[in-house]
């Protein structure tokens, strides 16, 4: 079980998650400082490590729309947060799976800041409201990557197999 640390609106863009002006910073060890940079208070809380690992960001529809910048995923992974959203844009979802950022597709999710959520294999349970919401399985095509722990180990294994 983990707490919702922020509830966001629809169409959260990668510019919101990781503003373009910080794109010259690429190292996963350095990107976390710029997470949601223009949401000053939230950024400060993240940087101060105010939330335990596994804490949840709840998004609406089309979370992560916009740019292909992978920093938008590495910045969140660096804070060890999970994303539960009604829908997620294609490139963001692929980047999340490739990097091993925990993302959950839950089309009906209703949750507020402070709610406790429990994520099972098939549902998201909101302990604060007692409601349960079905989740959508991540693309089966990407299962091999998830099982390998990300695209780098997956590609490495494919490369070794190729010889």
């Amino acid at each position: 079980m983990a707490k919702v640390i922020i509830k966001l609106e629809n169409d959260i863009s990668t510019d919101d998650i990781y503003p373009g002006r910080f794109m010259a910073t690429v190292l996963p060890s350095e990107t976390p400082q710029f997470a949601f940079f223009d949401r000053t208070e939230f950024n400060a809380q993240l940087k101060a490590k105010a939330f335990p690992a596994g804490s949840i960001i709840v998004g609406g529809e089309n979370f992560g729309c916009g740019s292909s910048r992978e920093q938008a995923c590495s910045t969140l992974k660096g804070h060890e947060v999970a994303v539960v959203a009604r829908s997620i844009s294609r490139i963001f979802l692929q980047n999340a799976i490739n990097l091993g950022l925990q993302v959950v597709l839950c089309p009906g999710i209703e949750a507020s800041e402070g709610d406790d959520l429990e994520i099972t294999a098939t549902q998201v349970l909101n302990r604060a409201t007692g409601q349960a919401y079905d989740l959508v399985q991540l693309p089966a095509a990407r299962k091999g990557i998830m099982d390998a722990g990300g695209l780098i180990p997956y590609t490495r294994a494919r490369l070794m197999a190729k010889g």
């Binding site: 169409d11 863009s13 510019d15 919101d16 503003p19 373009g20 002006r21 794109m23 010259a24 910073t25 690429v26 190292l27 223009d38 529809e61 089309n62 729309c65 916009g66 740019s67 292909s68 910048r69 992978e70 920093q71 995923c73 829908s87 844009s89 294609r90 490139i91 692929q94 980047n95 490739n98 990097l99 693309p139 089966a140 095509a141 990407r142 091999g144 990557i145 990300g150 695209l151 780098i152 997956y154 590609t155 490495r156 494919r158 490369l159 070794m160 190729k162």
Partner: protein, 428 residues
């Protein structure tokens, strides 16, 4: 059963007789494009090889393109050092399709790829930039990926585990009214579909309007297909595609085109008649917040931007220059022009457009992405408003979270530069 263009391309690239929506395939990559984020791709690429005992070499240096455009010339020591690192990698791996910070062959990646004939109909193109959808304009299946996925493509030469996407057929008919064009069409379509209306799908463009449209216009509509969430936009290759590649990109070898089967299956068909389309404006802070110009006329604007991979080509500059010729940019408004490539810049110089812009008071900048994504020149002041021919207006996009960005066509931007407020070019 018949196949769409993208299904045919994926079947060919994956070595299969046919594919259908939902199949998982691993197509060979014909072209893999990156810009400055190659710095991150290189890190991930080297990590892939760690502990394998295999020497880290890219699968095919002739199929990799790297173009510096996001921060050129470098705005910081950090960027300059990234540039330096990439140059070293390019040399060590023998990558030939490399466009450095140069005034002769430099430019924005999505202009360089078509301009140099790097993209052909039927290609599978991946790029570490969401606007890689642009290259569908030449009949390729072209889509954006992240840096780690590119590292995987550099290592294996394939796009791993791609799910064959469903296709939306967009049929466009009618002649554009004066001062209305491809940018208005794509903004109108995004407004209609919404920002996620084409998520995980392909937009395949058809109809007389598309057939008559120049490759420049097709690039603009495919470029912005991603703003409706599309994996890619695509115009099946035709006579115009061949003409462009021969006459403008200097391609001399055969250019076979891939066309969809008549009985291909589409998940949805959208029909648009452009004969009465008005100039369209995408209002802050979402690209699908699209309104006909009449609803926002008179909005005061501090910065006008003409350029980018969306609307920085020669026809865009010609249209804007024709409006600004002999006029002045309004006091209290500044205007920035950045051509999509150095070649376009040089042609615009020869044709006098650059002179027109400068005499009007516009600042003409080198080719690059800078102002569009707020990383390099052209940032907005607090609560300032920009009217721009670029492709995104998300909060903070032009470098300031309190700024507002409206998106429009080059003629709307030019007409509005003269008045300092959003102005209908049909009445200017």
């Amino acid at each position: 059963m018949g196949m769409t263009v993208v299904e045919k391309i994926l079947a060919r690239a994956a070595g299969l007789p046919a594919v259908k929506v939902g199949d998982v395939v691993e197509p060979q990559v014909d072209l893999a494009m990156s810009h400055e984020n190659a710095a991150l791709v290189i890190n991930q690429f080297q990590e892939v090889f760690q502990g394998t005992g295999i020497e880290p070499k890219v699968w095919d240096p002739s199929r990799i393109a790297i173009i510096f455009d996001h921060r050129v010339p470098a705005e910081s020591p950090k960027t300059a050092t990234n540039h330096k690192k990439i140059r070293g990698f390019v040399a060590a791996n023998g990558i030939t399709k490399f466009h450095d910070v140069r005034g002769d062959v430099g430019g924005i990646c999505h202009q360089i790829l078509p301009e140099y004939g790097y993209v052909r109909p039927g290609f599978v193109v991946v790029g570490t930039d969401s606007h890689t959808t642009s290259h569908g304009a030449l009949g390729a299946f072209s889509f954006g990926i992240g840096a780690t996925e590119m590292a995987s493509a550099w290592s294996l030469g394939i796009a791993v585990n791609i799910e064959v996407p469903a296709t939306i057929k967009v049929v466009v008919e009618g002649d554009f009214p004066p001062m209305v064009g491809p940018k208005d069409l794509i903004l109108h379509l995004i407004g209609k579909l919404t920002a996620q209306g084409a998520n995980y799908k392909v937009l395949e463009f058809h109809g007389g309007t598309i057939r008559r449209m120049s490759t420049s216009g097709r690039i603009a509509i495919c470029n912005m297909s991603v703003e409706a969430g599309a994996t890619s936009g695509i115009v099946p290759g035709d006579e115009e595609t061949v003409r462009y590649l021969r006459e403008e990109a200097g391609v001399t070898d055969a250019v076979p085109c891939v066309t969809p089967d008549a009985d291909a299956t589409y998940v949805q068909t959208v029909e648009i008649d452009v004969s009465h389309l008005e100039p369209q404006i995408a209002c802050p802070h979402m690209v699908d917040n699209v309104k006909p110009i009449g609803q926002v006329l008179g909005t005061k604007v501090q910065q006008i931007v003409i350029g980018s991979c969306t609307n920085g080509r020669l026809d865009d500059l010609a249209d804007a220059a024709a409006i600004l010729r002999g006029k002045k940019v309004a006091q209290g408004t500044r205007m920035l022009v950045f051509p999509a490539s150095s070649k376009i810049f040089a042609k615009a110089l020869d044709l006098g457009y650059i002179h027109d812009f400068m005499k009007a008071g516009a600042v003409v900048m080198n080719s690059g992405c800078g102002p569009c994504l707020g990383v390099h020149e052209g940032a907005l002041g607090d609560h300032e408003v920009a009217l721009s021919t670029t492709n995104r207006n998300f909060k903070g996009r032009m470098g300031n979270p309190t700024g507002e960005v409206y998106l429009c066509s080059p003629v709307v931007a030019a007409a509005s530069a003269i008045t300092g407020v959003i102005t209908d070019p049909r009445k200017g």
